[in-house]
Structures are given as structure tokens and as C-alpha cells.
């Protein structure tokens, strides 16, 4: 989801060649860059954008899954889903906190999400139609997120790398609980298995689109690779994900909905069929089936929470004046 944060990122800088070379030498030496260190303006801008969009993805990502909390089929599933959704909220907060070290305010990031200026991962603009979708999301969407996030633990920007280490520690549970849901359905009645297959059919292509455009069409990738914000290209990560996921689907006796998917002995990986990039760009540009609902839900939550934020500040102020009067 997270490489999509680079779409449209503008990494151009106006600093002197000496300054840029010195910065690049630090990055090449695997030195971490910390918030107060000198850095090219383009580096800062790229990170603010990417970390912000990553944070928004975690927060918006709570919505499709939250949709099923009250309808989880057992107490065990409900407890797991609640914990997972709470983790995603936590991931969003770790990331907002990392972005804020670069001088962008939380209010500004929230505002940009609500106005549509800032994007979030295209995957969350698809609807969760059945319980099987919750299993598939954990297995594929969190699985794809893990592929993306593990290299981000070594990102050159210290606060982002540290946030990613916390996130990665928590993701494994997300993927495993999802796979367990899908496995239970796949090994259940024929209707349950059909439900799992239907969810896989709908989520497969959007999941592999999460890695973003092909390398040849990915304009801002080179600069981000040089700055070690990114460690692998979109296609490399997509390949890793497909190679890891195909055997997992085979184990469940579920069919990946790509007739062109086949093992390529020479490259030691799977070849896949053509991705519908028109659909991808439509969804990225906010025309996904759930796009309007997602942003609307975030705005409603923000507006309905206004009195809570005001009351908390008023309460804090009251306690402060009482304390001062007592002193």
C-alpha cells in the first residue's frame, strides 16, 4: 500500500551539488537521518508525503474491517478482529508521530486526508461484502503490507524506520488470523469454500496492484531508491508477494483468478497476467467503489468527535487552574 505514497511525489531539490553529495554519502554509508539533521528539501517532502499517506492508509484501513466487527461469527473471531483493527489505529498513530518530526502538523495531515489532497492506499476503496473478505484482507492485504514494510524498517529516515519496526512486529498476527479464517472456510461446507473463493477472486488483483505501477512506469522510484527511502522496486516486491502467496493458496485448494499465472523455471518465480492499470488509476484518483464513503466516514468521525476534543481541553484547563489556585 505504502509504495503508493510515492505516486506523484516531487523529489526535486535546489540545494548545491556539494550539499547533495554530502547528504548522499551519509545515506550510502547507511547512516540514519534524524529529524534535525540537514536534509534536501525534496527528501523531507517525499517523506512527509509517504509517511502521511502510509498513516492515512492505516486509519482508513480500519473502516472496511470495522464493518464486520459486530458480525464476526464467534467471540474468538470478534476479539481477534477488534485487536487487529486497534493495531491498525496504533500503526496510524506511530506514523503520524514520525511524520510530525518533519515539521508537519497532525491537523494539517488530517485536513489533507479530508480534503482529498492526501491519498491513502487504493485497496481500501473496495467493499467488504462477506465475512470471507475479512480473512482474505488479513491474508493478502496484510501480507502485501508486510512485504512492503519489512524493507522500510531499514529506511534511511530514523523515525520512519523505528515506527516500521514496531508495525512489523504486529503484522504477523494480522496475516495469520486472516489465513486461519480463510482456511476454516476453505475446509468447511461447499458454500463456505465458494465464499472464500469468491473473496479471493475479488481481492487478488487489487492486492497485487497495491505494489504500485510497474518499474518502467514509476517516475519517482529512482530518487527514492537512491535516498534509501525505498529498498526494492515495485515489481520486485510484487514478485516476492506472488511467489510467497501462490503455494499458500494451493494448500487451501483455492484458485488464484489469473489464467496466465505459471511457474517460470528460468527466473525461479511466477509469471502473472496483465494488470488492469486503468482500474488502478481510477481507484487511486478516488473513483473506487467505496472512495466517497471512506472519506465521508472519516469526516463524520472527526466532526462527531469535535466535542470530545473540546471537552478534553476544557477539562485540562479546569484542572490546571484549580491546581494553581491550591498552590
Amino acid at each position: 500500500m505504502y509504495s503508493q505514497g510515492l505516486i506523484g511525489a516531487d523529489g526535486r531539490t535546489a540545494e548545491t551539488p556539494e550539499f547533495l553529495e554530502a547528504f548522499q554519502r551519509r545515506v550510502d554509508a547507511e547512516e540514519k537521518i534524524e529529524p534535525n539533521d540537514p536534509m534536501p528539501e525534496g527528501y523531507r517532502r517525499t517523506l512527509v508525503r509517504q509517511i502521511g499517506q502510509h498513516a492515512h492508509s492505516e486509519i482508513v484501513g480500519m473502516l472496511p474491517e470495522g464493518n464486520w466487527i459486530t458480525r464476526a461469527p464467534s467471540l474468538r473471531r470478534k476479539a481477534a478482529l477488534l485487536a487487529k483493527v486497534q493495531d491498525e489505529g496504533g500503526h496510524g498513530l506511530y506514523l503520524y508521530s514520525a511524520a510530525e518530526t518533519l515539521g508537519v502538523s497532525r491537523e494539517q495531515m488530517t485536513e489533507e486526508l479530508h480534503s482529498g489532497k492526501a491519498k491513502y492506499s487504493s485497496i481500501f476503496n473496495y467493499p467488504t461484502l462477506t465475512w470471507a473478505d475479512i480473512g482474505i484482507i488479513g491474508w493478502l492485504v496484510d501480507g502485501a503490507a508486510i512485504m512492503n514494510q519489512i524493507p522500510l524498517c531499514r529506511c534511511s529516515f530514523g523515525p520512519y524506520a523505528r515506527a516500521m519496526i514496531r508495525v512489523c512486529k504486529e503484522e504477523s498476527f494480522h496475516q495469520r488470523q486472516g489465513y486461519e479464517i480463510v482456511m476454516t472456510l476453505a475446509q468447511g461446507t461447499p458454500e463456505q469454500k465458494a465464499m472464500a473463493q469468491d473473496a479471493l477472486n475479488r481481492w487478488w488483483w487489487p492486492s497485487i496492484m497495491m505494489f504500485g505501477p510497474h518499474d518502467a512506469d514509476s517516475q519517482h522510484s529512482d530518487q527514492s531508491m537512491a535516498w534509501k527511502i525505498k529498498r526494492f522496486t515495485n515489481d520486485e516486491l510484487r514478485q516476492k508477494f506472488i511467489d510467497a502467496t501462490v503455494p499458500q493458496a494451493e494448500y487451501l485448494d483455492l484458485k488464484i483468478p489469473d489464467p496466465d499465472l505459471k511457474w517460470n523455471e528460468e527466473k525461479g518465480g511466477f509469471d502473472h497476467g496483465t494488470i488492469d492499470w486503468d482500474e488502478f488509476w481510477r481507484v487511486v484518483k478516488g473513483h473506487g467503489p467505496m472512495a466517497r464513503d471512506r472519506v465521508k466516514d472519516r469526516k463524520v468521525a472527526w466532526d462527531n468527535g469535535a466535542w470530545v476534543r473540546e471537552a478534553a481541553l476544557a477539562h485540562a484547563e479546569k484542572r490546571r487552574t484549580r491546581k494553581m489556585a491550591a498552590e
Binding site: D37, R106, H315
Partner: protein, 93 residues
């Protein structure tokens, strides 16, 4: 939009270790900051104690002075034990 203050969060992973910076949190006051820090940063037994401090109250060294502040230590090699030659016959010291 009213701004809710920012707090830096420090967690002691277990007794015997120091509190360590883990990130930040927005909260109206210190009581709510500790509660929010517990929810956000300790969902899996990451700690036994939390400190929060207003980000605005942290005093930091000037990054532009990092050279003057920290580089002089590098050329004071006589501060390190390996600077001194002790004959092998003396044994470990």
C-alpha cells in the same frame, strides 16, 4: 482547528532498564497523555512504566553545533583504555 498538545512518550521495557523514547502522542493533559500512551504504545507487554513530557518542554542541543559539541571527543584518545600499554606479563587489566 484547536490543537491538542504533543507529548513525547518514554517506556521502561522492564525493571532494570531505563525508560526509552518510543514516539509521541497528542493529549489535552498529562493524565490523558499517559492513558493514550498506554493504549498506543503498550498493547503487547512492551513496558512496566510510562513517562510523558510535553514536547515543547524538551530542551535539545543545537544540531548546527553538533561539530563543536561532539567531535572534540574523537581526538582525546587518551580517554580510552587501549591508549595505555601494559606488558602482557602483568595479565588482564
Amino acid at each position: 482547528m484547536t490543537t491538542t498538545p504533543l507529548w513525547e512518550v518514554f517506556i521502561r521495557p522492564r525493571n532494570g532498564l531505563s525508560h526509552k523514547h518510543v514516539g509521541s502522542i497528542h493529549a489535552a493533559d498529562e493524565v490523558m497523555a499517559v492513558q493514550a500512551a498506554r493504549d498506543v504504545y503498550t498493547r503487547r507487554g512492551e513496558g512496566t512504566s510510562i513517562w510523558v513530557v510535553r514536547s515543547a518542554d524538551i530542551v535539545a542541543s543545537d544540531p548546527d553545533q553538533a561539530g563543536e559539541n561532539f567531535e572534540p571527543t574523537a581526538d582525546k584518545i587518551y580517554r580510552h583504555p587501549t591508549f595505555y600499554e601494559i606488558p602482557e606479563d602483568v595479565g588482564h587489566m
